[in-house]
Structure formats: C-alpha cells, structure tokens
C-alpha cells in the first residue's frame, strides 16, 4: 500500500516534469503562447475579469486566461512550471553535492574538522534561512539573471540537511569493517571515499534528492510568490500564485489561483510521496523520524 | 505485609537451608502447557511451546537456556505483559488464579502485589524523567491506600533493605545519578515494595560485572528468604544458578528439555544440551567462558524435525533416525522424585561424562 502511494507520486511527478520540459510543444499544440495579451477576452468593465466560466476556460484556452491581461493561463502554467522545475532542480543538485561532500568529509576525517563543521551545520539547521534568502535579493547585482541568483542562494542555504544526514550515515559506514579493510590495504583516501562509501550512500542520496527537491520547489516558488524571487515578467508558478491573491480578493474566478496551485501541489506531493516510499525502502532515518 | 529485615549478609550456599522443596504446599506459581506465538510479518512465530513449571514459596526456580530459547516470552506471559501480537494458550496459575483466563482489568491488581518482575537493563527499566523514589512511591500507592509521606517512608525503607546506602538522601535522585549496581537494586526495590508472592527476574545479572553480579544474586536470595516469595531466576548462564537455585529448568527452542533439582542437573545431567551448557558454563569467580556450544540455536521459525537439538547433538548419530523424526517428550527419570528429561538417548541410559 505504501509503495503504491510512492508509485502514484512518481507518476504524478513524472507527468508534471514532462509537461514542464515540453512547455513549447504543449502550448504549440494548444495554439497559444505565454506572452500574447488578449484584451478582448477580459471584461474591462468588471475589473478585468475574464469572460466565460472558470476564468474563461474553453477549447482554445485550456486553463482560461489571466485576469487583466488575458494571457493564456495554460501557457503561463507550463512555462512557469519549467522555470520552477529548472531552478529547483539546479539548486537541489548543487546543494546535494555540497551537502554530500561536507557530510562525507566530516564523517570520514573526524577530529576537529568534524567538530567545528558539526557545530556550524547544527547552527545553520535552526537558522531563519528564509529571512536571509529574502534579504539577499537586495544586494545581488541586477545583471545576473534572476533564475541563476535564485538557484545559487537556494543551494547555498539548502545543503545543511543533506550534510547532517550524510554525516551520520558516513560515520556508521566508516565504523564498519570493510572501510577499515580498504584503508588497511593501502587504498588512497579518495578512492575509499568514492569507491567504498559512495555506493553505500546511493539509497540515502536517492531519498535526499527526492525529499529536498519538493522542499526547494516550495521555497523557490515561495520567494517568487512573495515578490522577491523571479521578476514578475518571467512565467513562474510562484509569481502566478502570488499575483492571483489580489484577484482572489477582488472576487475573480478562482481558476486563476487553482490551476497553478494544483500543478505546484502535484510536484511537491508527488516528490514527497516518492521520497517517503524511498525512505521506507532504503530504511533511511531522516531528521524527524530519527530523533 | 512481611517486615523487611535489615540489610544483612546472605552469602554461602542455600542448599543447607532448602534441602528439599516444600512439596507439601501448593505451588504459588504454576505454568501449565504454556504456549506463546507471535504474529510475525511472515507468519506465526512460535516462541514458547508447552512449558509446564511450578514454583513454591521460599524457593528459587531457575530457567536456563541460550538467548532466543523463549525465556523472556515465558516470563512476560506469566505476567500477562506480552504485546497484542502474541497469542498465549495454556494456564498461568498465580496463587490459584489463572492469569491467562481472566481479563486484563482483573490482572492489573495482581501485578506487583502477587507477581512482580525485574529486568535485565535497569537503566532502561527505570523512567529517566522521574526520581527513583517517585517510581517506588507510585508503585507502592498502586496497591496501598496511603498518603505520600507514608509511601515515601516505605520507599526509603525498601531502598535501605536492597542496600542503597544513605537511602533517605538518594531517594530523590534520578536513575542516571545511580551506578549500574545501584540501579539494579533500585529496580528490585520497585518490584518488591508491595511484598509480591512471586518475583520473576529476567537475566538480572547479565549486564553487570562479576562482583556486582554476586551482590545482586545474594540480595535476591536474601529477599526470597525474608519475604518467603518464590523467585523465578532467568539466566543464560548455568554458572549463575549453581549456588542459588533449588530447582532448574533448562529450555531449548521454546521447550523445557530437562528439569530437576540442582543436584540432578549438575551431577547427573540427562540431556545432551544441559551437558553442553555445563561445558560452556563460565565460573562465577573466574568469569572465563569455556567452550561455546557448536552450531546454530534452533528457533521458532527454524525448528528442526524430531528433536530440535539434533543438528547440534553429539549423540544423535548414535540414536539414529528417532532423533530426526520423533520429538522426545519430557519424562520423569526412574528412581528420582522430580528429575525429568526429553531425550531419546537417555530414556534408558545415563549420559557418559563429558
């Protein structure tokens, strides 16, 4: 039953990812694009609300149109999906690599290195990261593309959880005999790390990736939602959801809020279900079920 | 309520005092054909398979067997404390009442006052968030309608009896502030504070070092004498029981394979497993383990046909097919009052000396 949920999560995640990567293809199929303004589809006398039910859903506008501008919502969602996924994917990959490197070297080298870094990691774990993610937006030079900035800062703060987990696992593994044996037989340190430890950490890494990806998606979209991530001109799920609030308050049709929300929910839920199933399968103890 | 004596000396052999079991009295604890089966993820796991055992007041009955032989399951079944995943059949007669036949509600008041238990790991068995005194007081007040002050006095008294020095002060300590041996004593105090008729001690000395082991054993036998309770002493170590037990039951794969008095078991073992255990018995003084028994212990999920011991038995070849096909039953040895063994080889002969 639990792996059934995991499988469902994997399928949902896969579908959404494919939709994101095939954004141009899908919008071509629909016959729309995310940048065309369609003033004729919104009712200027009614605060710019789309004509028609469900925010203007019909055969040529699958998710309806954006209030005010009349841009095609389906196109905005799939292009936004692509932005969100790419940023989160890049940030996850980088942060997992950093976290793995830090965690492995801590667990393997030990000594003061482990102590000092351990303190730092512990400290970062309870740190109000979001505040600084927001604050940092102010000082990054404006000539660097926003998606890159976002991916970099997310990675810079995202590696901590991975480092903690990999550290614990490495220490357990290193305590086992075969690592000692490899060292005794004169294999160089680097070879031991890469050749013996890494394969044993594969399961853990799969879990870490599957669980930190949705978290990164949520934060990345969250920053854009708050208006301090991607600029409003780039299609992004967070931006869409953020700008939908105002419309929701003015009583516009909920479609503008619901379509991007459901897609975002599909990514995070899908990946979390998958990650949870992987965690059970690989028997990895993450923070909250470890303590 | 039996008055607790002051902390006295309880060294030496008990056999001088209890040369014969008090057979004229009714046993205070009587297990009859006890069976325990756990619901495992891949089918039922039989842990205890028809154990019959009696314990009389003032008597020490030892249950001996390798780890996994079903000793703890027997103990917990006797207390009615097995998890819901276990099915228990047979009867557990505590002073005539079958614990296994009455609902949990009626068992609760019997625990602690009629039948009590102590565990191997005292640090784990004591609540880390409560003082030692508080835990003893709580236990006492479950069975005695007294105010906190009276209960506290009683706690100090019991702590003193089990040999905690400066008990008036230590009563307010937390378990982690006690040493290993003291924790064991505190746990014993918690178990005997209500003067139980029966005390089950599940490997009470396994986690301790040799000198402390000796002290704890002396304490337990002393309490048995003072309180007139029956002590069921569970251990995987025959050496531990040599000087303290009156009766011994040897368990293998959930069954009793041999039982009898200490002399029966030590001087005339009638089961190859018992003999092997004797060979593997470390000496209390030297604590050196001699020879381990070769082979893998049988378990509920991996139960050999016939005699469960046959894959490890040195005599199986001599007996032949019977050992592999026919399960030997526990039979009274001729010419003895209570020496029983379950072995095809020894039904009509003695075991040769090891």
């Amino acid at each position: 039953m639990r792996s059934g949920a995991g499988r469902a999560g994997a399928v949902a995640l896969l579908l959404v990812m494919i939709a994101g990567f095939c954004a141009p293809l899908l919008t071509a199929l629909e016959g729309q694009n995310p940048s065309d303004f369609n003033g004729d589809l919104v009712d200027g006398n009614n605060g710019g609300n789309p004509y028609g039910s469900f925010g203007g859903v019909n055969g040529s506008h699958w998710f309806g149109v954006e209030p005010g501008t009349g841009r095609d919502l389906f196109a905005l969602v799939v292009y936004g999906l692509r932005t969100t996924i790419l940023i989160a994917l890049a940030a996850t990959v980088v942060s997992v690599i950093i976290g793995t490197a830090v965690g492995m070297s801590m667990g393997y080298l030990g000594g003061w290195f482990e102590t000092v870094l351990g303190r730092f990691v512990d400290f970062m774990f309870g740190f109000p990261t979001l505040l600084f993610l927001i604050a940092l937006q102010l000082i990054v030079p404006s000539d660097i593309p926003k998606p890159v900035v976002l991916a970099v800062v997310l990675a810079a703060f995202g590696w901590v959880g991975t480092a903690r987990l990999i550290h614990t696992q490495t220490r357990q593994l290193a305590a086992r005999e075969f690592i000692d044996a490899a060292r005794a037989s004169g294999t160089p340190l680097r070879r031991v790390l890469v050749g013996e430890l890494l394969p044993n950490l594969i399961g853990t890494l799969a879990v870490v990736v599957a669980l930190s990806f949705p978290a990164t998606v949520a934060v990345s979209a969250g920053l854009s939602f708050l208006g301090v991530g991607i600029g409003a001109d780039t299609p992004d799920l967070g931006v869409l959801i953020g700008s939908s609030i105002t419309w929701t308050y003015t009583g516009a049709d909920a479609g503008y809020l619901i379509f991007p929300s459901i897609v975002l929910l599909l990514i995070v839920l899908g990946a979390t279900l998958l990650g949870d199933a992987l965690r059970d399968a690989f028997d990895v103890r993450t923070e909250e079920n470890a303590r | 309520m039996v008055e607790l004596g002051k902390n006295g000396e309880h060294g030496g052999s008990r056999h001088a005092v209890h040369t014969s079991p008090l057979l004229d009295q009714q046993p205070v604890l009587s297990l009859r054909d006890l069976q325990v089966t756990f619901r495992g993820t891949s089918g039922p796991v039989p842990a205890v398979n028809g154990v019959t055992l009696e314990a009389h007041a003032g008597q020490v009955v030892a249950i001996v067997g390798e780890s996994g032989s079903g000793k703890s399951a027997t103990a917990l079944a006797s207390m009615g404390l097995l998890p819901d995943s276990a099915t228990v059949t047979g009867s557990v007669l505590v002073e005539g009442t079958d614990l296994n036949a009455i609902p949990e509600k009626q068992r609760v008041p019997l625990r602690g006052s009629s039948i009590a238990m102590i565990f191997q790991d005292a640090l784990a068995a004591l609540n880390p968030y409560r003082t030692v005194g508080r835990q003893i007081i709580d236990a006492y007040r479950l069975h005695h309608d007294v105010d906190k002050r009276t209960a506290r006095e009683r706690a100090v008294e019991v702590l003193d009896r089990v040999g905690i020095r400066d008990a008036t002060r230590r009563v307010d300590d937390y378990p982690h502030e006690f040493s290993g041996g003291m924790r064991q004593r505190a746990m014993i105090a918690m178990a005997v504070v209500n003067d139980p008729t029966i005390l089950i001690a599940d490997e009470p000395t396994t986690a301790l070092d040799v000198t402390v082991q000796r002290q704890v054993l002396d304490l337990l036998t002393g309490l048995t004498d003072d309180l007139g309770m029956a002590l069921v002493l569970i251990t995987h170590d025959l050496g531990v029981v040599a000087e303290v037990a009156d009766q011994i039951a040897v368990m293998y794969a959930g069954r009793i394979v041999e039982s009898g008095s200490v002399l029966d078991i030590f001087d005339h073992p009638a089961h190859p497993y018992t003999q092997a255990l004797l060979g593997a018995t470390p000496n209390l003084e030297t604590s050196g383990r001699l020879a381990a028994i070769p082979g893998v212990p049988a378990s509920g999920t991996n139960l050999p046909s016939g005699c469960p011991f046959h894959p490890r038995c040195a005599f199986a070849a001599e007996v032949g097919e019977a050992c592999r096909t026919k399960r030997p039953v526990l039979e009274l040895r001729p010419g003895t009052p209570a020496h029983r063994a379950a072995c095809h080889f020894t039904t009509d002969r003695e075991l040769p000396d090891a």
């Binding site: 400290f123 604050a135 030079p141 975002l264 279900l273 303590r291 | 019997l110 602690g112 068995a125 479950l142």
Partner: protein
C-alpha cells in the same frame, strides 16, 4: 544550572556577533550603495557625498558594523543640525525612506508576527501532540493511516498554498471567517482572535505535521520501552502508563520545537502575505522592494536574534525538564 545558562548565553551572544559581522561585510561592502537610492535621480555628486555622510555609509563596512553595535547599546544620531535623526537604543538601524528607526518599525509590526507565530505554535503542538500519540496507540489501523497520510500531505504543502485554499474555502465559499487584516489585541480581543483563526490553522497545521510524525515515532519507542513495561509490572493500569509515555514524548518534542522556531517564523512570513497582515515579514519584503538597506539588515538581524534567543530559552527549558541534560 546557572553556569550552564551562562555558558549558553555567552555562546549565543558570540553567534549573534558573528552573524551581524558577516551581514555587514556582505551587505555594506557590496556595489549597491544605499545612499545612491536615497539620493534619487538625478543625483549630483556633492549631494551623494552629503547623503552618504548623513547615512554613515561613507565609512567602510567594518566601521559601520561597530557603529551599529554601538547604536544597539547607546542609540545613535544620523546627521547634524535640523536634519538630524535620532535612533534610540536599542537601535537596529534607520530607514531613511520612512524617516523612522528600524526598531520602531519592528516594534509596531511585532504584535502581528508574534500573534501569528505563537498562536500557530500552540495549534501545532496541540494538534501534533494529540494526533501523533493517538496514531501510535492505533498503530497500523485506520487512525494511524489517516494521521500518517494527512501529515505527509501537510509536510509537502507550502504554507501559502494551504492559506490560499483556506481563504477560498472558508472565506469565500463558506464565508465563515474573515480572510484578511489584523485587529490589534488591545482594540478588540475577540476580533483579534477571529481574524487570526484561519492563519493560526494554516501555520499550525503545516507545523503540526512534523510534530505528529515525530510524536508518533517517539510514542512507539516509549510504548515499547522497558520502563513502561516495568511500570506495568508494578500493577499500573494501561491508562496510567500511556500518560507516562505521553510525558516521555514531550521532552524530545521541545528539542524539535527549538529547531522549528525558524520554520514558524517563515510560516508567518508567508501567512502575513496571504492574509494581508503587516508583520515583520511584510516589513522585510517592503524593505527589499524599496531598496531600503536599513530595514532589510535590521529585520534580518532581529529575526536571527529572535531565533537564537528562542533556542536559548528552549535549551534552558529542556535542561529543567530532562534530568539527564548535563548541568555543568
């Protein structure tokens, strides 16, 4: 115990010092000079020099950091003469945009964020500590499946999505609770609570998911523990033992709570936005949009200080409820 607290206090102060140092090096030596923003466009060079001097950004980042620290303890005055602006201790900086000390700004926003975070914390602990142990007691049966499934869902769901869905459902469809705005506790306690019901539930439920999962596993450990078995062996009924088990879950929960303070704060940032409440998160975001470095640095450091002090309190509380924590 006192020396334990003293030691933790010193460590916390050092950490705060280090954070503020890093922040100043990072934010005040970058290329984006806040004076340029203040100066406006077009900006004459002599005007820029004036503004820089007024704001104190003509000094290097390290000196500015020292000025900031000094301001924290004795307050500081920007500029001289008629234009002078005073910022009294503890001075978290000055917003030249709004001509107000950041401390005042934070102070005026604090009730909102505090109401959100504390109420959310209460809901999350209540829900998590009720459902988690319940799931453990019913392990493998439907209440367990429900709690586990529900918490998995909530752990994954971003706070802003849950908030928006809550507004859609309870605010617009069912029309039972107000969906935006904050009413001060001192104005009307009833309206205050009424406006906070939905936000509390959002923050509370999101965080409760973690507590429920954790409390469930912890409760399972407790229920399987020797000390509860030993307690039952003394004749304690199941109910008494379960109560003891629940108490055993509270101690490690406080550790988790300490770690979650930061999450609580971020939860309230999103919730402020969703429910149009003007708390500290809103202040920070406003500072970013208006390029007000004083506000941004001040609120970020204030937030960090809040979390560190919160963790200190949690540590001390834990030291007093868990007898095993070393009292050096």
């Amino acid at each position: 115990m006192t020396s334990y607290i003293a030691r933790r206090l010193v460590v916390s102060l050092l950490v705060l010092l280090a954070i503020s140092f890093c922040v100043f090096m990072l934010f005040y030596s970058g290329p984006s000079d806040p004076a340029r923003v203040m100066c406006g466009k077009p900006c004459q060079p002599e005007r820029l020099t004036q503004v820089k001097h007024f704001m104190g950004t003509d000094k290097n980042a390290f000196v500015q950091w020292l000025d900031f620290l000094k301001g924290l303890f004795v307050g500081r005055t920007y500029g001289t003469g008629a234009e002078a602006a005073h910022c009294s201790a503890p001075c978290f900086g000055f917003s030249f945009d709004q001509r107000q000390s950041v401390t005042n700004l934070i102070w005026s926003r604090l009730p909102v964020t505090a109401s959100l975070a504390l109420g959310g914390a209460a809901v999350s602990l209540l829900v998590g500590m009720t459902l988690g142990p319940l799931a453990a007691i019913f392990r493998g049966r439907w209440p367990d499946a429900l709690v586990r499934g529900g918490s998995l869902f909530l752990v994954a769901t971003p706070a802003y999505l849950l908030g928006l869905l809550g507004i859609l459902l309870f605010g617009f469809q069912l029309n039972v609770v107000p969906v935006s705005g904050y009413v001060a506790l001192t104005d009307s306690p009833v309206d205050w609570a009424w406006h906070l019901v939905l936000p509390w539930c959002v923050i509370g439920l999101i965080n409760a998911a973690g507590y429920a999962r954790f409390a469930r596993n912890q409760m399972l450990d407790e229920l399987g523990s020797d000390h509860l078995l030993a307690q039952r062996a003394t004749g304690a009924p199941k109910r008494t033992v379960r109560r003891a088990a629940r108490r055993g879950v509270w101690v490690p929960i406080t550790t988790l709570f300490g770690l979650d303070l930061a999450m609580l704060l971020s939860g309230s940032i999103f919730t402020e936005r969703v429910f149009s409440m003007h708390g500290i998160g809103d202040l920070l975001i406003g500072g970013v949009s208006s390029h007000d470095l004083g506000i941004v640095v001040g609120t970020a450091l204030f937030g960090a200080a809040l979390i560190i002090v919160g963790n200190l309190v949690v540590d001390i509380v834990q030291g007093s409820i868990d007898p095993r924590v070393r009292r050096g």
